[in-house]
């Protein structure tokens, strides 16, 4: 395979997957992962470019040709070490990064054929490391005596905790829910990201000595300022909060869910195991999901696994504009999710007991590009139609979590409720508070939240080591 005389291999190795008829009824992971042979073969496609464009496409600048050449040599331990130098959660990112928009988009092979499957190779190494108990613990710097509070155990908070712990600080994460992981735990379903992986990552940072306090709602259990009486600095990674609704009649009917509610009932509360787990979940026959992102795909595919006969995605633009990862759109299509594209719901109609029964919609066509560069959907006059539904899942986005902005003085808050920060450092308008991830950007990606965490951690470290002596703390 890696025999020196390189001929371009234009086709990538496909990802082995669970059979589509089987998997649409179970919650097991869909993508099974490369075997060692496939991984080495895929790795051997990489040209090991001197100027690696792929690396520039990765928000945390992983040494991509570096780790891939380790795979070619069969030196998996060195490969994973190269990844972990800049990415604390490779098993997660390898699975859920929108690679086609990031690292793989820039890969030179993509100009002539398929790009190298960078994400799948990253996942391969992370899974290899876990399977072989080869997890290497970094050496921690000597204790600095500085205490850092991290709000939220999502990808942003976990990254900050990891980095600052390694740098010798004393780190405590306060997490509102009873389980850590943020969206990785309550949002992204098991069949895409097994929860065992998320738990493993959380256990790992705990094993470094990070203190994780669950059921602790910052802003409520204690205010930010009260916590800062005992800590030198704080990072806020509180993620996304209140779901948006469409603002059409009937949205408060029974059977209408936000995607957050729907997915939380299933993922965090294990509603699919009701009544063994005691949180119930409905199992309607005809489900309509509104939206076109990852969240919508996850909701539609979850409803199939809960036994829906039909699961529809309603999206107001065309397939080209779907914001979800391509791979997940294809998975959804294979599993039988029906895509009703260029359709806009206008009204939900209930029965006499307050349950949703029908959805009224308008057909759309694409006009000129709008501010986002995508072609703007325009309603087609007289095209309205109704469709019978038993449940509607609204997956059109969230505003940032409101609890901390509501309860904290002096934090500069943006129009949409997001926390404003200095982009280069992640620092907020308060001198000892940093923030990053979805609470700053609105719903984005796992890797961008981690990237923000990394930037904030570096800036916090500088501050902790330089500016603030412990005695300056207000007590």
């Amino acid at each position: 395979m890696a025999d020196g005389a390189k001929t371009l291999k234009l086709k990538r190795n496909p990802m082995p997957k669970q059979d589509e008829h089987e998997r649409r009824r179970n919650f097991d992971e869909v993508a099974l992962g490369y075997t060692t042979e496939t991984a080495i073969d895929e790795a051997s496609r990489c040209l090991n470019c001197r100027t690696a464009f792929c690396k520039a496409g990765c928000p945390v600048n992983i040494d991509i040709p570096g780790f891939i050449s380790c795979i070619v040599k069969g030196d998996f331990a060195s490969g994973i070490r190269k990844i972990k130098a800049t990415n604390a959660l490779p098993a997660v990112c390898g699975r859920v990064c929108p690679q086609e928009e990031q690292c793989e988009k820039q890969c030179v092979l993509g100009r002539k054929g398929d790009p190298v499957s960078i994400g799948r190779l990253e996942r391969f190494l992370a899974d290899w490391e876990a399977a072989n108990s080869a997890i290497q613990r970094p050496t921690l710097a000597a204790n600095t005596g500085k205490k850092v509070a991290v709000v939220g155990a999502g990808p942003a908070g976990i990254t900050v905790a990891n980095d600052l712990k390694i740098l010798g600080h004393d780190v405590t994460i306060f997490e509102a829910l009873h389980e850590s992981g943020g969206v990785l735990t309550y949002g992204i379903p098991e069949f895409r990201l097994p929860k065992a992986i998320v738990r493993r990552e959380v256990e790992y940072i705990k094993s470094l000595g990070v203190n994780v306090v669950p059921d602790y709602i910052v802003g409520k259990t204690r205010t930010v300022d009260r916590i800062l009486q005992e800590f030198d600095a704080m990072f806020i990674g509180a993620g996304a909060g209140l779901p948006w609704f469409m603002g059409i009649p009937g949205e408060n009917l029974n059977g209408v869910y936000s995607a957050n509610e729907y997915l939380t009932r299933v993922n965090l509360m294990k509603g699919f195991l009701f009544p063994f787990y005691s949180t119930p979940i409905k199992r309607p026959a005809r489900v309509a999901v509104v939206g076109g992102g990852n969240v919508a795909m996850d909701s539609a595919r979850t409803s199939l696994r809960l036994g829906a006969d039909e699961s529809h995605i309603f999206y107001r633009r065309s397939r080209n504009e779907l914001p979800a990862r391509i791979e997940e759109v294809e998975n959804a299509e294979e599993e039988g999710v029906i895509f009703d594209l260029l359709v806009l719901p206008t009204r939900l109609i209930g029965d006499s007991t307050g349950w949703v029964r029908e959805m009224e919609c308008l057909r759309m066509e694409l006009g000129e590009p709008d501010a986002s560069g995508r072609r703007k959907p325009i309603p087609v006059e007289g095209s309205d139609f109704r469709m019978p539904v038993d449940a509607v899942v609204v997956a059109i986005g969230n505003s940032p979590n409101p609890l901390i902005p509501m309860s904290t003085q002096g934090l500069d808050i943006g129009k949409k409720g997001n926390i404003n920060v200095d982009e280069a450092t992640g620092r907020t308008s308060r001198h000892n508070i940093w923030a990053g991830g979805d609470v700053v950007t609105g719903a984005a990606t796992v890797i961008s939240a981690m990237g923000a965490g990394r930037i904030a951690a570096a800036s916090m470290h500088k501050y902790l080591m330089g500016e603030a002596a412990p005695e300056q703390r207000p007590v």
């Binding site: 509102a176 829910l177 059921d215 709602i217 409520k220 909060g241 209140l242 609704f245 936000s258 957050n260």
Partner: protein, 286 residues
């Protein structure tokens, strides 16, 4: 893990839950609630706070056994532990000097109105407390209210204590005592809060209700606790749970609250509560 200090059976089907949770006890205010899980597979259920001891680090709730989760809580003994006790959540009842405040409690709300009455009294209000139940044997904490009120009135449906009837008798009761309310605060079952809001509308008494929709996270993430207030969607866990009772879309609220009845209530419809889960007895489960 949170240690159970005690679970006391106060009146039939109603239990007092005292939990050691110093962080919650430190910040709790009247009108707040906590999210509780009884065991590792448990649902997250909201319970209002009914009392606390900041020094001892304990918090008290009163709950009615209506379904699986409250049944698990009722079986706990002093010394047991529960995995989740998160809070205090919600904005808490706005306390200030209003003048004459009427605090109305029914069902578990007899418990949770207690700290409201206490705080209203401390803020310098004239406080009258009204507690209501089907029968005298369902009233509890009757003595506790005396210290925090200028008057305590009881209403029972069968007339075995206080005035016979239900909350619709309140205007008459107050008029007969010459009491003119500046504010009415109601805690308890949904029907009771709705009825009080209906009867206080025509005399124009401002009425605050402590809403109890279905919740999951309680932190403003999932959106299940939404309700329409003055034509706008609000989220009870972060915007409330106290709202102006005259502005709530009650029909919609009642329909939403029942949405899991077929799964949860039907198998357990023996608890025979007169007034909880949607003023239960009479609500025909779907």
């Amino acid at each position: 893990m949170y240690r159970i200090v005690d679970v006391k059976h106060v009146v039939p089907n109603m239990h007092e839950l005292i939990v050691e949770a110093p962080a919650v006890a430190e910040s709790v205010q009247p009108g707040n609630f906590v999210i509780v899980r009884a065991d590792a597979q448990g649902e997250r259920i909201p319970l209002s706070v009914a009392d606390w001891d900041r020094d001892a680090g304990t918090v008290t709730s009163v709950f009615m056994q209506v379904g699986a989760s409250t049944a698990k809580l009722a079986r706990l003994k002093a010394g047991d532990t529960i995995p989740t006790y998160a809070g205090p959540l919600g904005r808490g009842t706005a306390i200030s000097k209003f003048g004459t405040v009427i605090c109305i409690g029914g069902c578990y709300g007899i418990g949770s109105i207690y700290p409201v009455a206490r705080a209203m009294k401390e803020a310098g209000n004239k406080v009258f407390t009204i507690i209501e139940a089907r029968s005298s044997f369902l009233l509890y904490w009757r003595d506790k209210f005396k210290d925090v009120s200028d008057g305590v009135f009881e209403i029972t449906r069968d007339g075995t204590a206080g005035k016979k009837g239900h909350v619709s008798a309140i205007p008459e009761l107050l008029q007969s005592k010459g009491i003119q309310p500046d504010l009415v605060v109601v805690n308890g079952c949904t029907f009771q809060m709705m009825r009080v809001s209906t009867i206080t509308r025509s005399p124009g008494w401002k009425t605050i209700v402590n809403m109890n929709p279905i919740m999951i996270d309680g932190t403003g993430m999932c959106g299940v606790c939404r309700l329409s207030v003055d034509g706008q969607t609000k989220f009870a866990c972060v915007d409330g749970p106290d709202f102006d009772g005259h502005k709530i879309d009650w029909d919609e609220f009642l329909a939403r609250r029942k949405s899991y009845s077929p799964e949860e209530v039907e198998p357990l419809r023996k608890s025979g509560c007169g007034s909880h889960a949607g003023c239960g007895g009479k609500e025909q489960g779907r």
